[in-house]
Symmetry: C2
């Protein structure tokens, strides 16, 4: 391994980077930042360079991405090329290694030629690394936006889907997360004064409001933008949740908000558990009985695993809290380090 | 009636105004414009003045609103006051009459004191006017964003709910519409290559894309903003719909997009029909057998009415196409004109 390695997970809304100084380093240094790419895509090179500068230099870089799905790009092909262009601008002296859904690294040029091979491959990176420590497990990585449900059987990643649409169909990708998910995408109705009330189909509140209200996450964990541009206090989150039933805090008390938040959180758990069960059905007797939990939404992953009657292990216990939150970035760094050693 | 009357329906995303020169005028002059208030609330007075200028002067103004729900306001009280302040700034010489859910007009000062009485009262205005021509009917006003299901029995508005939360619970307000509704708030999954595929919980596509794709609406009807800031062509709408399953147009053909769009449109129809059925159940034998259809989403209203086995009448046949689209603005103008006459 020639010098430190920087691993990158370039998402549409978040950027995560992990630096390992040597392959034996158990816990990488990790930086995570909210960066809604579609707002100002042209700033990506600058943000990459700044992030690398804060983590310290690197001799090599490993990249995985989901940013190509952002709607500032017409196609994934365009998105993949854009992200790789940004790396070239930010780090002209380093040719990054790009991780693919086939579990291999390739050059940026090769990645450009087969964009679907490197689009949304971050789950494969995490699962490949996790498989080395947990040869039989269901990896549950619940992030700010999505939940990955990846079976690992006999030391191999046993996912059926490769592309995002395939993974959505198979239950291996459940598009719900701990922060960014709009409440109107989670539930059709919520309890209100003992009856069910339809919700507004508006971006009035997000999952971060739902989980901040009961203290499941802290204000500092609410790293995405707020829907209304106001603050991240419990009071402000409550006002956003009240708006989901077209009400305000002059109409609804704390108990009403709690009932709404609990209902939405439960719906998210059931949604993720639905993906888990679909994967379990497919695997039948081969399905692992233990879930390895990762991501900012580990609390959701745990509840969903328990609902599906799986045992649980926290990835944070093995790689540290920060790396488990930014698992794909840490994973590509370790995987590239391992390649260089071999 | 002293001079022409301007009726206003100030929504959070749209502004509608209707001018009647005399009470006998069958079809008012109507202006409708997309104005997402939360983007630049400070521009409201200027937009009001400009709209009035284009329609021609007025001796009196009648106002109804739903804009108080916009998330630039912490409470409805704040929102109502803001809208009324904007009228005072735009038209210092005219004291507007504000319509309430009790079916009465009041001064702006009185409205400020009881904001919940004038918040979201636009459905009551339309229903009160429609009741004069259709004493037994279910008014279905499907706009860009929401659907109102208002029973009129024996010439009286027989709605159970007054506030938005009450109306959402009773099926009288179904928060789905022809343009602005996010697709992720309508469906959990869509058909893809013969199987169900989960959708992305992102604001990638809206109802306008769904209805533009099959030609149900024209590009000119797509008056709301596009989610990705791109154009309103069929091609661009298709790309947005593809993104709902995390795909792009290099992965999905026209037939795939058609299947997605049809499924989402059907789900909207079922959702509105669900509200209709809830209202019908409550009324039992008293429920009217005919639906009067209004709003930009009249095509959705018609399909939902048919699904609920109701006969249909188009409000446009009575008041003209433009007035039926902007029904509450026209209604408050006529109601105020009638008051002045009485």
């Amino acid at each position: 391994m020639k010098g430190p390695i920087l691993g990158w997970d370039v998402g549409g809304a978040n950027l995560k980077a992990a630096r390992i100084a040597d392959v034996g380093q158990c816990e990488p240094t990790v930086l995570e930042r909210s960066f809604p790419l579609w707002h100002e895509p042209h700033r990506l090179p600058e943000v990459l360079a700044e992030t690398a500068g804060r983590l310290g230099g690197a001799g090599a870089m490993a990249v995985t991405m989901t940013a190509e799905l952002a709607d500032c790009f017409t196609t994934k092909r365009e998105g993949v090329a854009f992200v790789l262009d940004a790396f070239r601008t930010a780090f002209p002296a380093i040719d990054p290694w790009v991780y693919g859904v086939d579990g291999r690294f390739r050059s940026a040029d090769a990645a450009r030629e087969q964009p679907l091979e490197v689009a949304a491959a971050n789950w494969m990176a995490t699962a490949t690394l996790v498989a080395r420590s947990f040869p039989d497990a269901l990896l549950l990585d619940v992030g700010s936006t999505t939940a990955d449900v990846i079976p690992i059987v006999a030391g191999r990643v046993a996912a059926r889907g490769r592309t995002d649409p395939d993974r959505l169909r198979n239950g291996e990708l459940v598009y719900t997360g701990a922060l960014r998910t709009p409440v109107c995408a989670i539930v059709r109705s919520v309890p209100l004064c003992g009856r069910q009330c339809r919700v507004a189909a508006e971006l009035f509140a997000v999952a971060a409001d739902v989980h901040l209200w009961p203290g499941q996450i802290a204000e500092g964990d609410y790293t995405c933008e707020t829907p209304d541009g106001r603050g991240r206090s419990r009071h402000e989150a409550g006002a956003r949740l009240a708006r989901m039933v077209c009400a305000d805090r002059e109409m609804l008390g704390d108990g009403d908000i709690t009932a709404i938040a609990e209902h939405v959180a439960q719906a998210q758990v059931r949604r993720i558990a639905g993906g888990i069960r679909q994967v379990m059905r497919r695997l039948g007797a081969a399905c692992p009985g233990v879930a390895v939990l990762a991501g900012q939404g580990t609390f959701l992953a745990r509840a969903a695993a328990e609902e599906a009657r799986l045992g649980t292990r926290d990835l944070a216990n093995d790689v540290g809290f920060a790396a488990a939150r930014a698992a794909p970035a840490a994973a590509v760094a370790y995987l590239l380090a391992g390649m260089a050693d071999a």
